[in-house]
Every structure is written in C-alpha cells, then in structure tokens.
C-alpha cells in the first residue's frame, strides 16, 4: 500500500470515537455494519443531517457523520433533552463530529489541525469526495438506526 494512503489503524481512530461516544451516552455502542469505498451514490439521500470537520496539517480533507433525523432524536432523548428543535438536532450531529475531532487530535497530536464542526441539514453532494476519488465509507448501526462516517482524507507526509 502507498505509505500516504490511509490505513486500517487510522480508519479505526475515527470509528472508535463514534462508537464509544454512543456507548458513553446510551450504554449501547454503535456497531460497524460495513466498510467500503464511496462512489457518487454512496450516501443515501435520506441521511440528511451531517456534522463535518475539515482537517489540515499532516493530513488533508474532511471527515463527516451523516444520519437520519430519527437517530438524532433518540440521541437527544438519551441526553435528557426534550427540545427536538432544528438547532438542537444540528447541535447533536455537531457533537458527534466534535467527538471524532477530539479523538483524532488525541491520536495524531498537535500536527493535525481540525476545524470546528460544521453542521448541515440537507443534501451533502457539495461536500463529497473533495480529496479522494473513492472516500472511505463506514456504515454504522445504533439502536437499529443507520448512519455513516465518510473519511475523505489523505496523508501528506
């Protein structure tokens, strides 16, 4: 493999952050369903809430978490939040992205520059495949609800 390609260990850094976040919040970890290479049709249109972080430094690209509204509602319930307004839903998806960011910083150190999470409600075509021809897509399942983590990242050094 090219030494600048993302390897399994690095993929796990991002995924572990998400699965452990759900475990800590609800006592039930998210399960990885599959991992594959993304194409234009990789992200279901129904995954309409996205939390995205952009990364620079030794790596370049972005990582984002997308899911349906129902998953975020369950997440808010677990957090004891009854207000399921749009802003709270976006905050919830941003919090997941923030957790990915924190774990990445812990693992890769200060050489990784990570943006504050950007939250999006709606289609994600405009942010797809900024760096890789085929980004890594990991589908996860939490309490019967599906979500994806898209890793569109390349190592520069």
């Amino acid at each position: 493999m090219n030494n600048k390609d993302i390897n399994e260990v690095e993929l796990r850094v991002f995924i572990t952050a998400v699965t452990e976040y759900f475990q800590a919040l609800a006592g039930e970890p998210a399960q990885v369903r599959s991992a594959y290479l993304g194409t234009d049709l990789s992200v279901p249109q129904s995954y309409d809430y996205t939390g995205l972080i952009t990364i620079s430094g030794n790596y370049r690209g972005c990582v984002y978490f997308s899911c349906r509204q129902v998953l975020l509602r369950r997440l808010l319930v677990c957090m004891g939040e009854n207000d399921h307004s749009e802003s709270n839903l976006l905050d919830a998806v941003g919090e997941v992205a923030n957790t990915i960011s924190g774990n990445a910083r812990k693992h890769f150190g200060a050489t990784l520059e990570i943006s504050v999470p950007v939250t999006i409600h709606g289609p994600t075509e405009s942010i797809r495949a900024a760096v890789r021809a085929r980004p890594f897509v990991i589908t996860i399942d939490w309490l019967g609800q599906a979500a994806i983590v898209m890793i569109d990242l390349e190592r520069l050094v």
Partner: protein, 705 residues
C-alpha cells in the same frame, strides 16, 4: 599549552589588586613593627639616662652631706674613714657620669655594673651640662684633697664645706633640670611611637577593609555568576528537545538531565536512576547487552573515541513501549514505532600521576530519530512501489493493447464487484459469505494476472488474499473487521487506474505514429518488427514482406482497427503457422518462414487485407484437440464437426491450439479479438489453408464509414 596559560593569566589579573593590598598590609605591619622596635630601644636607652640623671641629683646631695659630716667629725676630732670613703665613691660616680653625659664614656649603672653612655645631644641638656661643669670643676678640686689623705686638714674640709653650702643646691637644681630635660625627650619619643603605631594600625585597618571589601565584591560577583550559570543551565536543560545527561561510571544518571529525556525515551526517569536498568525495559536483551559492553568500552579509555563512535550499536534503537505505568509516550500516533539515537562523548577529568586525563563521565545525548527512520522507510517504500509500477507497466506493454485493456477492464470490474459485496454486507450482515465471495474474486484476479505474467497484480492480489485469509479464519467475524479491506481495495484501484493511464498514453503514442505514417511502409516496418520480436520469443526465424501501399489512405478508424487485426494475424502466423527451424528443414523448406502481408484495393472504396504464411497450415485435428481441452466439447462432439465448422471455432474466445501459455499465445484471445474487430468494421474474413503449404487470412472491408 597556550590555552591553559590564558585562564591562569586571567585569574592572576583578576586577583592582582587583592594581592597588592595584602602585600601592602604586610609591608605596613613590618614598618610599624620596625619603628616600634627602634623607638622602644631608644626610649629604653633614654630611660636609663634619665635614671642616671636622677642618680646625679642624689649624688650631689650625698657629696654635700658627707662633706658636712666630715666637718662635724673633724670638730670633734674623730673623723671616720667611712665618711671619706663614701665621699670619694660618690664624687667619683658623679664625675664619671657627668663626663659620660658630656663627652661619652664609662660609668657604673644603677645596678652597679659597668655602663657605656653616649654624650647627650640637644641644646638644652648640653647647656645644663656646661653650667654644671662650671660648678663641678672647682667643687671636685676642693673635694679631692679630702679623699686623698687619712686625716684631712680642718681648713681643707672647711673650704669644701663652704663651697658646698653655696653651690650644692645649685648643682642639685641643674641635675633636676637635666633630669626634666631628659624626661621630656623620652616623652617626645613615646609620643612619636604612639603616633607611628596609631598611623600604622589605621593604615592596616584601612588596608584590611579594602581587602575585605574587594573579597566580598569578588565573592558576590562569583555567586552571581554561578547563579547565572545555574539559571542558564536550567534553561538549557528545560528547553533542549533532545535527551541530555551525564552518565557516571557506576551507570547512574547524573544530577542534571534535560526535561525532555522522559518524553524522548517514552519512560519516566529521574536523576540518580540506573541507566542500564532503564534501557533494559525499552530494548530487547541483545541490544541491552550490546549497550552494556559499549558503555564499558567507552569508560575503558583503551580505544580511541573516533573508533568507538563508529562502533556505536545504539545509533538507531527501536524502543518498545514501556510496561504500564512508567511510560511517557507522545499521545500522537502512539501505535507507531519510536526510534532513538544515543550518542556518547567522553568527559575527561584532571590528569593523573601518569599525566593521562581519564574518562570520568559520559555525556549522553538521546535524539528522537523516529521521523528520520520513518522518512527513510517511506522513501524505500516509494522506491519499491515505483519499481513495482514500472515493472507492471512494462508487463502490460508486453501484452497486446487489446489484451491489456481487457485485463484492466476485467480487473476494475472485479474490484467494483468486491466493493459492491462490501457495501451489501451492511444489509445482509453475513460477513463470512462476504469474505468468501471477495476471496473468490481476488483469487480469480490473481489467476488472471499470473496468466498474463502481470507480476504486480499477482503480488497485490496475493497480499489481499493474506488479509482475507486471516479474516476468513477469524471466529465471530464482525462488521468492524471489514475495516481492513477498503485500504487494500483502494490500493489496487488506484494502481490499476494509474497503469491504465500510463499504458494508454504510451500505446496511443505508438498508434499515433502508425496512423500518421504517410505511406504503408511504416506500417510494414511495424509488422516486421513485431514478427521479429515474436519469432525471437518463439525461437523461430521469419521474414516478413509487406505490400500495403494504400494503408495511408484509409480513414483513421479503419486504419486503427486494421492495425489491431494485422498485429493479431501476424502474431498468429509466427506462433501457429511458421514451424520451428528444424521442422522446416525436415520438410525441405527454407530455415526462415515467410509471411506476406498485402493490402489491395479491389474497388474505389473496397479493400482486401491478407496475411499469408508458408507454415504448417491449419490442421483440423489440432483444433479438435483444443476444443476437447477447453472442456466445451466432448471428444465425440469434436469429432463430429466438419472442417469448415472447426475452422470457425478458432475465432471463439478461449480456444487456442498452442500447447503452452506464454505472453504470445495460449489464452485464446488473439483470433477472438480479430473476429470482434472484423465485426465492428463490417468486414468479412476468410481462411484459406493447405497442410504444410500455407495459411492465409483475408479480410475484405469497405473504407467508407
């Protein structure tokens, strides 16, 4: 040598003032001491003189008293000798003392011993002595007769008595004055002595104060310097990014070490720790032993430092993570190996009795070279990858473009299918079946790569199989385990795309050259070169003649397809038609096989392209064997086919009459490609052949689009 003199000179310069001050202090003390001794001695002499002067007063009174006593005795006619003797002694003592005071000489001291006295100096004493001499000279003249006779005459006594009555008190007064004058002289000298002592002590104290002030100043400056050096050392040790410390001969880490040392080695460590024990937890036993021996060698002083440095076994050390608790790792990339380089420099002490400076410590620097090692490894990996890709590209170029394109297409389709299987696993969650399916596809890909001698793809598929094999054997396979697959899949995807891009660029360049050939000559040359290359591979001899003058007039689309057809047919003629040299000789043919390529214009836009060889011809039984070997036909079915049908089977994919598979034939794709192109061109193909005489493929086509 010069270097050692410089600090000594600077040190002497620094202490010059203090040394001068101490010297001055000693000189002052000596001067005061000498002055005191000198003046004391003089005072002692003067005090003796004062005592003598005081005795003169007493003697003047004793002389008068004894004269009066002698006169009284004489009146009673009983003059005693004792009185006269006393007069004589007192007179003699007074006289010798007065003479001594005046001109110097001997007399008896107050203790009765002989004494030398100096003539008195100074105006006042000399004046008193002169006046005393005026009184004493007649006085002694009157006394002398009294002391010379046993019974002096009454008249003599009377004259002496009268003179004494008049002058005795005057003489006493003069002796008093003399005593006072001498006492005043002593007092003056005592004052001088006191003054000298006071001045000396004051100067000495001032000098002492100067020395103390200078010393305290110097000590303060030195203290400040030491503090500054300590502060700077602390700053250096706190700031330096490398591990730095002094190693004692007993293996102990010195009292100071850089703050970064624990971070660099990834383990908590403190001054006073045993270095080798720390190292033991970080490196394998073999390297720990090597470190132990090397450090011992460095302290040994028997081997030159430059030579020892070249033997350093610790210049690149891979550290393992310390056992729980004590490790201080960088949080970043904790999974990566860490490499450090340990460098040692000898620290020499003072010279011993043999004049040799022995090693007292080792200065140890620990650099984190993980990044350097990683970069070297990255460069090696990149070189290996580039070599693999060049080899892959060359392997691809060895193949016919149509074959290589088909392989790359097939590969990408396989990869797409693998990716689809991964994506589908999210729904089915039947992970063992997914892995098995991917395994089959990768294995097929590996087989195809091997069949086409594409070692790069074979290697990539093999590595992929290793991962899959490990996953297949894993119990309770989970979705998370699939994370290992996409990186490998992506690697093959990206390499396939890259090779496709490179190969297309290179073959399109060849095609461009061919298409741009102004005449059929270059097309003919290309076919000759191809035939020659294939003949060398097949260990045959061939001669190609090309008569294709109208090739340049064909439209590009037709020329490109005809070129592909010609390549396959010429290759086919060399591999299948032309016999081996010895076979041709037995058949009474020339050693070199002949291949004739022609392009004839039949009508305005109608052409016939033909490739004819004088080889063994098409042998129906060979085709039957191939059909049976392919597994598509039974022996009986193959035997039932007529010759025309048999010949048409040659154009089916997967049918080859070649007994072996190599880069030129055996995979049954050559005539398959020809048939495909003929179909696209809307052409017709005919095959004519006579065993052991010739084989000719003729393609008739229209140049119109």
């Amino acid at each position: 040598m010069e270097r050692t003199k410089q600090p000594k000179r600077r040190r002497a310069e620094r202490y010059r003032r203090i040394i001068i001050a101490i010297g001055l202090f000693i000189v002052l003390d000596l001067i005061v001491l000498a002055a005191t001794l000198f003046l004391s001695h003089q005072i002692l002499e003067d005090v003796a003189t004062v005592n003598l002067a005081g005795r003169q007063r007493m003697l003047s009174q004793r002389i008068a008293k004894t004269i009066y006593a002698a006169e009284a005795e004489q009146s009673t006619a009983q003059t005693a000798n004792g009185t006269l003797s006393e007069l004589k002694a007192a007179t003699a003592l007074f006289d010798s003392t007065l003479r001594g005071f005046t001109v110097g000489g001997g007399t008896l001291g107050v203790n009765g011993q002989e004494l030398r006295i100096k003539a008195l100096e100074g105006e006042a004493p000399r004046n008193i002595l002169r006046r005393a001499a005026i009184l004493w000279t007649p006085y002694v003249a009157l006394i002398d007769p009294l002391t010379g006779e046993i019974t002096p005459a009454a008249e003599t006594i009377r004259k002496a008595s009268e003179y004494s009555k008049i002058n005795s008190n005057k003489l006493l007064d003069l002796m008093n004055q003399l005593t006072a004058a001498l006492e005043e002289n002593v007092a003056d000298k005592t004052d001088i002595l006191r003054l000298v002592q006071i001045v000396g002590v004051v100067l000495a104290l001032a000098n002492f104060a100067f020395i103390v002030f200078k010393l305290i100043g110097r000590l303060r400056a030195q203290d400040a310097l030491v503090k500054q050096q300590q502060r700077e050392n602390a700053q250096i040790f706190a700031t330096i990014r490398d591990g730095l410390f002094l190693l004692h001969p007993d293996g102990m880490i010195g009292s100071q070490m850089s703050a970064s040392l624990p971070t660099v080695i990834g383990k908590r460590v403190a001054p006073g720790d045993d270095f080798l024990s720390v190292l033991e937890t970080l490196v394998p036993e073999k390297e720990h032993e090597a470190a132990k021996e090397y450090i011992s060698l460095l302290f040994g002083d028997r081997v030159k430092e430059s030579l020892v440095a070249s033997l350093n076994p610790l210049s690149q050390l891979e550290l393992r993570a310390a056992d729980g608790g004590g490790d201080v790792g960088k949080e970043a990339d904790s999974s990566a190996s860490r490499f450090v380089s340990l460098q040692f420099s000898r620290v020499k002490g003072e010279k011993n009795e043999m004049g040799v400076r022995q090693t007292t410590h080792l200065l140890v620097t620990v650099h984190d070279v993980s990044e350097r090692v990683r970069l070297i490894q990255a460069v090696k990996d990149a070189e290996m990858r580039a070599q693999e890709e060049i080899k892959g590209l060359l392997d691809l170029l060895e193949l016919e473009p149509a074959v290589s394109r088909r392989f790359l297409n097939d590969t990408e389709q396989s990869l797409d299918a693998i990716n689809d299987a991964l994506r589908g696993a999210g729904q089915t969650r039947d992970y063992p079946s997914t892995i098995s399916e991917i395994f089959r596809r990768v294995h097929h890909l590996k087989g195809e790569a091997a069949a086409h001698s594409l070692s790069l793809f074979e290697t990539l598929a093999h590595r992929f199989e290793n991962i899959l094999s490990e996953l297949r054997d894993r119990p309770n396979l989970k979705g998370e385990d699939l994370l290992a697959i996409p990186p490998h899949l992506e690697d093959i995807y990206s390499r396939t795309a890259k090779l496709r891009s490179l190969a297309e660029r290179m073959t399109s360049k060849d095609a461009h050259l061919t298409q741009n050939a102004a005449s059929g000559h270059e097309f003919g040359y290309m076919l000759e070169a191809l035939a020659e290359k294939v003949a060398i591979n097949q260990k045959k001899k061939v001669r190609v003649t090309a008569d294709v003058p109208d090739f340049g007039s064909l439209p590009d689309s037709k020329a490109t397809m005809l070129r592909d057809i010609a390549i396959q047919l010429v290759r086919n003629a060399v591999v299948h038609g032309i016999e081996a040299t010895n076979e041709r000789v037995i058949s009474s043919k020339t050693e070199s096989g002949n291949i004739h390529v022609t392009l004839k214009r039949l009508e305005a836009d109608k052409f016939e392209f033909a490739v004819r060889d004088d080889g063994r011809g098409v042998i129906p039984d060979h085709i039957r064997e191939s059909l049976v070997k392919s597994g598509r036909y039974s022996r009986a079915e193959a035997d039932s086919l007529d010759e025309r049908t048999l010949v048409m089977k040659l154009f089916e994919p997967g049918i080859s009459t070649s007994p072996t598979v190599d880069s030129d034939a055996g995979r049954g794709v050559g005539l398959d490609v020809v048939a495909e192109k003929v179909k696209i061109m809307g052409a017709q193909i005919r095959l004519g052949s006579r065993p052991n005489i010739y084989t000719q493929f003729s393609v008739t086509f229209s140049s119109a689009a």
